[in-house]
Symmetry: C2
Subunit: 261 residues, 2 copies
Amino acid sequence: MLVLLFILIGTAPLMYRWHRHPTIFVITPTYSRPNQMPELVRLCTVLNTAGNVHWIVVEDAVTKNRALTRFLDDCGLPYTHLSAPTSPYKRHVRGTNQRNEALHWLRKSFQLTGQSGVVYFADDDNTYHPDLFDEMRTLKRGATWPVGMIAASNWEGCITNPNDRSKISDFWTNWEPNRKFPIDMAGFAVNLNVVLEYPNALFDDTTIGRQEGLILLRLGFKNGYELEPKADGCRKILVWHTKSANQDVQVIGPATIMNML
Amino acid sequence: MLVLLFILIGTAPLMYRWHRHPTIFVITPTYSRPNQMPELVRLCTVLNTAGNVHWIVVEDAVTKNRALTRFLDDCGLPYTHLSAPTSPYKRHVRGTNQRNEALHWLRKSFQLTGQSGVVYFADDDNTYHPDLFDEMRTLKRGATWPVGMIAASNWEGCITNPNDRSKISDFWTNWEPNRKFPIDMAGFAVNLNVVLEYPNALFDDTTIGRQEGLILLRLGFKNGYELEPKADGCRKILVWHTKSANQDVQVIGPATIMNML
């Protein structure tokens, strides 16, 4: 009995992490390339650590890759595997059709269900600290936090006043500082209810570099200051806009490996 | 009582992972650069998932960076933070002095202690699948497995015969196939006992591109075929030789962020 009690006390923090509410719906557009599998492995690892994540992976393809389905089965998270191709004329706004496909799926699946959730757009090449997901899980309507290494700067995002860490007082960005939402795709999340309240809010496939502001406007936010500051009053970097070097994979090794994407 | 029992059953697999034996001593050389923190965050995340890892982080520097010590404190793993600079004349074999410093520390700390362990050299820019650590934990003297995306090929490493998956029958590599150990630094691990049995085995700082074979020879292995094949008889890629694109960080944002390295 005493042993049981010790084990219970020891595992309580983890039990708590598994059963955290609400669910975070992580939307990840992806496409076939040499770096795809390692990048998805890293994301799978941190999403498992985050606890209570539903992963919506949307391939930029006409049909779903079966090897990717097997990879998602093995990852161990609840997931939804979708596909939506990008038009060859719209390659400059890659990701749009995939994120919209995920929004359609959320609205179709959860309208009128009362499901509580948070929606986050997480590209597969960024780097996420596990604590980021704890931060966004407590948002009311929408929240933001700083992002590391972006727009030729070491960071970008919200700043709070030392006297009131619950209000955004300023934004730092090295690129188009007059944007209403000077925020990267990795730097915000919204309540699932907001996505359901504004059923026509979608990403557009024409505007370059302002996708984040456009979707937030369409979801009813007027500007970045309406978002709740997270990550210790915007004082921590918990996500980095990393990029992988293109890998030189000219030679294909013998087909003895089973888990290739 | 019944609730306790259910919780115990539910958490048993995780309890098992935490207390896995033996300890894996993961040796990571690192140096200051914009990508350093996100890459260490990713490695911290997967090493926590692996369970029972002792992380030996060796900075390429004369003195240890205090911010890195704080980062290691927060990571939650047992760790040892060391520093050893690379000579300006030896930059072409970066990592050597740092890996040797870790080997010295292991020999100083565990000679005659009976500590069981596995030693693995894990650079901070590669990508590791959590299952990789389960594979190496069961090795007897030394083991190897394939590595993804390396030497201009999609993979490199051992091959086993379909009739006997416990013996290496061949190696695939696109670079110097006549090496006695056609193996990348990320593609092998050895028993701590072997490191202690050969106290003079160190990396050298003159030979380029054959560091892995040289250290394995000095640790008493004659060639790659003496190593135990892991990762389902060399049929799975559980580690990738990824590289991060150099980030363009010319502009330093305001000093409102606390967790910068």
